[in-house]
């Protein structure tokens, strides 16, 4: 499943499938989406696009999983949602992403990233900071002054939300890097939550973790959707099936299929989705 990497020759060409794009305008498929991705194409330079004409609405307080074989543009799509792809100097994009009525490409990055937080594949707590300072790093690093009591409150609330509070409450001033991988990842989620974003983006958040830590994070995400909207890139189909409400299947930079997870896993509409889900490729 995860281990079979598609060889270049076996990959059906883009052309072959161009005609049978199933979803013409998936934004409308989701009722009152918090986030609207509108005909978005992203290039890392030149006229080659890593994702092309992606349109999708993201449902509020749901978990949306993005799946697809390696290199299909999952991370690119995710990063385009909080403009992290702009880290690379030559990127440009067409189309837009709307948070409510605001075009995210017109917001400034601090504002935007306060509303759309991100968690990465490898846990990356700030190694010079204590657990406490890691949680409120978003405030400290941006020079947002808080009272001590406010800080304490945010730290406790965020750590409780990621079910880490009981494990670390007596060691808040120790370095975050002394925690286990799973604890570190929950700390990173807490760091993103502390900002009280509307949306949390996670790029394969459990791929560096063992099964127990993974299942803890999965439980956590399911619990968190009460307060947050979650978009999750995953290589792990069973994970998507377990926890997501909606799923996207991407292939060669294209959003091939998008819909309710249950429906996609039982009756996929596109042949490529079916092949991927049955392990024929990817």
């Amino acid at each position: 499943m995860e281990s079979t990497i598609l060889k270049q020759e076996q990959m059906p060409t883009e052309q072959k499938y161009k005609e049978n794009v199933v979803i013409k305008n998936p934004i409308e498929k989701i009722e009152s989406p918090v986030l609207k991705i509108d005909d978005l194409s992203v290039s890392y330079g030149g006229d080659k696009y890593a994702i092309q004409n992606v349109s999708a609405g993201i449902a509020k307080n749901k978990i949306t999983a993005i799946m697809g074989p390696s290199g299909c543009g999952k991370s690119t799509l995710l990063r385009a949602i909080n403009r992290m792809h702009e880290l690379y100097p030559n990127t440009h994009n067409k189309g837009g992403v709307y948070l409510g009525d605001e075009n995210i490409y017109e917001l400034n990055p601090i504002q935007l990233r306060r509303k759309i937080g991100m968690v990465f594949q490898r846990p990356n707590p700030f190694p010079t900071m204590s657990i406490y300072d890691n949680v409120i790093a978003g405030f400290n690093l941006n020079g947002i002054k808080l009272k001590r009591s406010e800080k304490d409150e945010i730290v406790e609330k965020s750590l409780r939300e990621v079910a880490l509070w009981d494990e670390v409450k007596d060691a808040l001033h120790n370095r975050g890097t002394f925690l286990s991988g799973g604890q570190q990842q929950r700390l990173c989620i807490a760091r993103a939550l502390a900002y009280t974003p509307d949306i949390i983006l996670l790029d394969e958040p459990t791929s560096a973790l063992d099964p127990i830590a993974t299942s803890k994070i999965e439980d956590l995400l399911v619990k968190l959707k009460k307060d947050f909207t979650i978009v999750l890139v995953t290589h792990n189909m069973s994970q998507a099936a377990r926890i997501s409400d909606y799923s996207m299947f991407m292939y060669l930079g294209e959003l091939v299929e998008y819909g309710k997870t249950k429906q996609m896993f039982t009756t996929p509409k596109d042949k490529r989705t079916e092949e991927y889900l049955t392990g024929k490729f990817g």
Partner: protein
């Protein structure tokens, strides 16, 4: 016929013996390379310890008459190297003040723009700088500062010459350290909306602090014992001088002066011992910092 029968007991023993000889030879040679340092320390301690009293640290260098009388009476030469210590502190301190910020900024630039053409040029220049003979840097200090700025020999000129000398070590250690820091850390900060300059100042540099500090201290220890560039810039002074636009003494300059004065020759040992211990101390503290302040990521 298989391998285990081929290697007979006798051969096996021979091999083990060879191994043993080789290992011991290595230990011996490693020990041998440490011998000069201990011999030097021993020599300096034996000849210089009598001179190492309180006044050695707090009094200015004696003049040749006082010294001659003391030597004639078989007494300890009065006075100390306070003018050299103060001069070294000021010259090296000022050189650090100039070189540390420039070096760290430059190293950060190189680490952040590993591929760029301009970065390549800067890296090349820094490497060249490393190989410039120290006396040439003295000439530079003379031309840049002694002549046009201070209108005469000065501590400032010495500092400028030495700052150029310590720059490469700071630049390269900063660059190497920052390159090791995983990019995910920068992403974490940027994903919180932190502007780039704050990511560098508040996340990346603090994470690399031990490596950077180690480079800084090694840079300081490299210039603390330099004599040649100071001869053309700071010149030397028989009294404590805190004005950086005036000529100033320094410990290595004093060693040179003692050498040139037959009556003061006995002071060489204690002054050299002091200098050597200072530099050893700096190197040890660099090691300690590299170990203790190491940031785990």
């Amino acid at each position: 016929m298989n391998i285990s029968t081929e290697i007979s007991d006798r051969k096996m023993k021979q091999r083990l013996l060879k191994d043993k000889i080789f290992t011991n030879a290595m230990i011996f040679l490693a020990f041998l390379s440490g011998v000069p340092l201990f011999l030097i320390l021993y020599q300096l301690a034996i000849k210089g310890y009598r001179q190492l009293n309180i006044s050695f640290f707090f009094e200015e260098a004696p003049d040749t008459m006082e010294a001659m009388i003391a030597v004639a009476n078989n007494e300890v030469i009065p006075g100390g190297i306070a003018n050299g210590i103060v001069g070294t502190l000021i010259i090296v301190g000022l050189a650090s003040l100039i070189a540390i910020p420039i070096g760290i900024i430059c190293g950060t630039y190189l680490a952040e723009n590993a591929e760029g053409k301009f970065a390549g040029l800067v890296r090349f220049i820094v490497d060249m700088l490393q190989g410039v003979p120290s006396i040439v840097l003295g000439v530079i200090g003379y031309i840049w500062i002694v002549k046009p700025v201070t209108n005469g020999f000065s501590a400032l000129a010495g500092s400028v010459a030495l700052s150029i000398m310590m720059l490469p070590s700071i630049v390269r250690s900063t660059e190497e350290t920052l390159k090791m820091i995983p990019g995910t850390l920068k992403e974490a900060a940027l994903s919180l909306g932190v502007p780039y300059h704050k990511v560098i100042l508040k996340v990346i540099l603090p994470t690399g602090i031990s490596g950077i500090l180690t480079g800084v201290i090694l840079g300081i220890s490299r210039i603390a014992g330099e004599t040649a560039p100071l001869m053309l810039t700071a010149l030397g002074s028989t009294v404590i001088n805190t004005n950086i636009t005036e000529p100033s003494s320094a410990v290595p300059l004093l060693v040179w002066e003692f050498y040139n004065d037959p009556n003061l020759v006995n002071m060489i040992w204690s002054a050299s011992l002091f200098l050597l211990l200072l530099i050893l101390g700096l190197n040890l503290s660099a090691k300690a910092i590299a170990r203790k302040w190491k940031v785990q990521y």
